[in-house]
Symmetry: C2
Amino acid sequence: VSSLSGVSSATPTEEMNGAGNLMDFLDEPFPDVGTYEDFHTIDWLREKSRDTDHVTIRNKPTCYHSKESIWELIKSLLDAWSGWVVMLLIGLLSGTLAGVIDLAVDWMTDLKEGVCLSAFWYSHEQCCWTSNETTFDDRDKCPQWQKWAELMTGHAEGAGAYVLNYFLYILWALLFSFLAVSLVRVFAPYACGSGIPEIKTILSGFIIRGYLGKWTLLIKTVTLVLAVSSGLSLGKEGPLVHVACCCGNLFCSLFSKYSKNEGKRREVLSAAAAAGVSVAFGAPIGGVLFSLEEVSYYFPLKTLWRSFFAALVAAFTLRSINPFGNSRLVLFYVEYHTPWYMAELVPFILLGVFGGLWGTLFIRANIAWCRRRKTTQLGKYPVLEVIAITGITAVLAYPNPYTRRSTSELISELFNDCGALESSQLCDYINNPNMSRPVDDIPDRPAGPGVYNALWQLALALVFKIVITIFTFGMKIPSGLFIPSMAVGAIAGRIVGIAVEQMAYHHHDWIIFKNWCRPGADCVTPGLYAMVGAAACLGGVTRMTVSLVVIMFELTGGLEYIVPLMAAAVTSKWVADAFGKEGIYESHIQLNGYPYLDVRDEFTHRTLATDVMRPRRNDPPLAVLTQDTTTVEDVETLIKDTDYNGFPVVVSRESERLIGFVQRRDLTLAIKNARQKQDGVVSSSVVYFTEDAPQLPASNPQPLKLRRILNLSPFTVTDHTPMETVVDIFRKLGLRQCLVTRSGRLLGIITKKDVLRHMAQMMNQDPESIMFN
Amino acid sequence: VSSLSGVSSATPTEEMNGAGNLMDFLDEPFPDVGTYEDFHTIDWLREKSRDTDHVTIRNKPTCYHSKESIWELIKSLLDAWSGWVVMLLIGLLSGTLAGVIDLAVDWMTDLKEGVCLSAFWYSHEQCCWTSNETTFDDRDKCPQWQKWAELMTGHAEGAGAYVLNYFLYILWALLFSFLAVSLVRVFAPYACGSGIPEIKTILSGFIIRGYLGKWTLLIKTVTLVLAVSSGLSLGKEGPLVHVACCCGNLFCSLFSKYSKNEGKRREVLSAAAAAGVSVAFGAPIGGVLFSLEEVSYYFPLKTLWRSFFAALVAAFTLRSINPFGNSRLVLFYVEYHTPWYMAELVPFILLGVFGGLWGTLFIRANIAWCRRRKTTQLGKYPVLEVIAITGITAVLAYPNPYTRRSTSELISELFNDCGALESSQLCDYINNPNMSRPVDDIPDRPAGPGVYNALWQLALALVFKIVITIFTFGMKIPSGLFIPSMAVGAIAGRIVGIAVEQMAYHHHDWIIFKNWCRPGADCVTPGLYAMVGAAACLGGVTRMTVSLVVIMFELTGGLEYIVPLMAAAVTSKWVADAFGKEGIYESHIQLNGYPYLDVRDEFTHRTLATDVMRPRRNDPPLAVLTQDTTTVEDVETLIKDTDYNGFPVVVSRESERLIGFVQRRDLTLAIKNARQKQDGVVSSSVVYFTEDAPQLPASNPQPLKLRRILNLSPFTVTDHTPMETVVDIFRKLGLRQCLVTRSGRLLGIITKKDVLRHMAQMMNQDPESIMFN
């Protein structure tokens, strides 16, 4: 028997095979066994035990020679700390990238309007900050900063200058978006979109090679700057999560512990997603909860601690870069000075309803448009589409001051309470001449003409944003929808806020206002309404609740406003859920047909495993291998004739008693290897999976032992197991497939695809829509 | 066949059994089938599918008669909303209880020292607040509040008055603690301790009847007040979690959806734990994370949302009761005015090391003492023990002002920064006469004699707290250790803080201080050191990280100080973990021998299922039932002779092919029921688990069909499955037992106890220490 050198493998279940392993010694381990092909699903249980394997090898006792032992010690320490090191690196790199992106976007957004004469690489704000001639009242105006028309013609005002500025604004926007879409198309097609649907799918155990690669990282970073600067209605928050995950993937490759284990790699990616949100909003705790609530699939406690660490490092790296120039961590820093009143819950809940309706409308319309893009001619001209949408956006956005500026600036202004020194149009209230109070606590005042003017412009901006965002999200450029969604909500909220404020001022004798709003008091904070509206709209689109509220809480820093935010977020979720359970990310996952098993879908149907397993009643029997009677040729025929990813191995076709499961990929590799390297292996050689070679006549060719690639612990359920339990097992253990038995006999197989197809069927969806690319 | 009326049951797997069920119609469902006995472990998968059952029954189409349909609609709405209703009720009740406890503790703590003449139910602070004669400088002194000596003898000062006050202080303390321990012993023995170890065990799926009952709730609330007021070194935070969980259990009984399903009930309890921490610290987000990180076992996203809701409601209920009189949600509200400097990380990390060492010392010493209490005569005199410890505590605590007051007041003072108006001894700095700065930003000053005096007293208090807490935690009264741990850390931190501050003041030319501390600047905030120390010590004892940092963050409200807190918490965890993996709660779980399968323990040994399963090599064969040849008598003998909780059912003893699993409890009940109600069932009747009755000679007595209680989908693994995978499956699916097969033949069984015993063995612990009461 010792002449039959077996085929080596790294499959862990095999290594545990204790006795008898010395017999089938290895030529060399062939490298790819136990890995996955592109667009395949990983087996979490297998990955987990591969890691243990690794740990056990790492911890094996070493001989204590002086030098080596120190080296070993350093190596083992590095290995033990590698998780934290990776987190540190992710935090540093994603914080730095976020800072660079922020600075670049600032500069390029302003470049559309003008240039700084003292140094062309200064943005408008930096330009005027460095200028000494600026007075505090008019920070935005300084001689160093010149609009294009002024620079080119010398005239700052007038219709001619306006038209020239308008024209150049559109030209720059077109240039930026053309560059963005071209770069994406040529270098990294995976860099488009927000990336969150794909990351969710990857984290749930799917393999998409290159999606988190170096090229994607580079191109996504560059094109994100271009896309945001072009003035399109999109944000950088979602793509930042993708960028952070790319960083995570990059650093995984430094440590074999992470690069070789798809399960461990996903733990790092979960933490990276937290770091991404952390830098996007300056909200580390919110980022961790976002990763937990929205993105991750498998989130053990260890990952919780590490994500928190990564998120903190990222946030502090960003703060030390200080791109907003205000030493603040957060994108929209606000401070409110007045509490809210119980009666205000009514408008807050109405904003929640609005958010839910907007979420539903957006998801339905966007998915319909994306489906049209996928199925019609439209999808063939992505560059043209981007150019056209950019053109329309620029043409419509420029005349309205609220859409001309960058969306995050708009949100920031809408969130802010009107202080005494505020010069914006939104704060054009008629001042009480007798006012002699401190700056913080200005009583409610009647609105001046500027406010009414602003209301009209905001209403137009609202309609514009709603329509254009539907067409923008899903184009072939990096695009997030946090910021556009928040903008829609913030505009609606601010409008409602001003309306309530003016009502309270003019009708403070009405019964509803009487109790909480005396004349001369500061009762209503329109900025808070904007914030609540933003939370509601974001919640309607993404269906986040806790992480959303925590992110908003980290923006304001006061527990005071959690109740309004919570009320709006929960209302919005309920309203939106009434029209359809899926958030925008799940809808896009479905649209793209990724095999994603959502942890949130409840499966409450009473089907049994036997209803789902294949083969079905009239199908041909299950393709199985027998433990010691199949020949190499039989195996090769089976592989050629079927496209299954693996085959159960049974004792014999008569008894149908299961002994194990073998992966197609491993089988192909093993036979190829054996044919090349092992003498005597021919087509008529018997393949056997038992410990000992079968008793064969002497005339037969040498048999081939394949026990090493056999998984001896395949997962089985009985045919009477309720599908609910099966779905639960698939979710919690992250299985790829599961065998179905009855009284010890193999009946069939259920794969993840079968489960997904069955779930779709039960929810009256077309099961064929799950295409899996 | 129709004369054989079968035995009814509510087991869901049975209901799914489609065809052939009409035959064995039911007399009446006997009530206890599918429930668990006390001190048994639940089967999560089974509970989950029971819930689906419930949903399916609830959703079945109803006939639309006018009145009924409205009633049905209301019922189904109530059912759908019952989760949120339960959360609302939990939040309201636990918030109210927490408020009442706070108020009562305040009053009774002060009662030890004196009484308010204007109204005896006022605490010292309330008494002086309502008095008009108080000046701002001396809030604590007012004529209405009289110490006992003053009231009884008329002399407020002098040695006689001191001795009388001292004596009465001890007397009150003894009275309170005697009442507490007697109430616990007589009415609710489960009300003692912090309750968190038991709640962790219950949430992991163990049944302890009465642990969360109404009596426990009532007695724990009352005795908690008494215990805290008696001045013992214990806190109310842990017990508040227990109280909140009792509330949760109470409200579960209102809805059959929760009261009848042990799995759903645990989801509610997880949320209740979050509400408990939320009111304990005024930190709703921290509470949710505490429940997630520290307490819960199964924490789906739905529970995350609901816990958050419950935690918020609880926090706001508490705030509207306003027990601290400052409209603040939080127990220790602090505001710091100066940032921290990079060099301060060194003392912060040292505090982390101290916290880790304290955690290790505390856990080891406390467990050793508790073990001694369990095993020696000591445990037989719990009342005496409590009285003795109270006496010692009171005698030693009174002379030192820092131990005389309540521990939370002490922590509050230690956390606070010294403002200009602060009158405490700790703030007795030598003022710079030229100082004309605003109140907020006082530069570092040299310490006055009061500070040095305070340092000595604090050092004595530190030693006292360290020693007495070890003996206090684990006595038969409600006792939490958050507050004592935090006190130890806060004292240590404040001492270090003052030392660094004075060093920086006197040696600001040293190289380490040169860069960040110019003379006349406010460089060091000793209060921040106290907070960091408190976090470190709490982290060392409980091994929390993220939730700890978030709780502390909610206390200060600024992201600014997250890095120091994080550094200290992580250092403390690492140091403590180096000496032993278990936190105090896990250690107490082990000490009490609860069957708790920790999600955090990594199992990395290479054993296989076959090494763990029973029967072992020389054991008698596995006790099994056959599908159609066992008689009623055989079954009864088997039940009598063994104490297994369930029996596998096989086709026949020869083939050993598994068809299902039957619970001992169900089997006993079914046979008892059949003997009583079904004619013809005698000892020699054959019991069968197949669809159809076996072919028997006509002379045989009527067979008994038991298919309804048979679980047709028992969980199986092969004998080659690595134990690591088995442990993972037990954890993630919450199994009670798992059958082991090889090529379809039943080999043995692995129960949760076997898994725990094996894990203990692998970690070189005595497996017999897992006693399971």
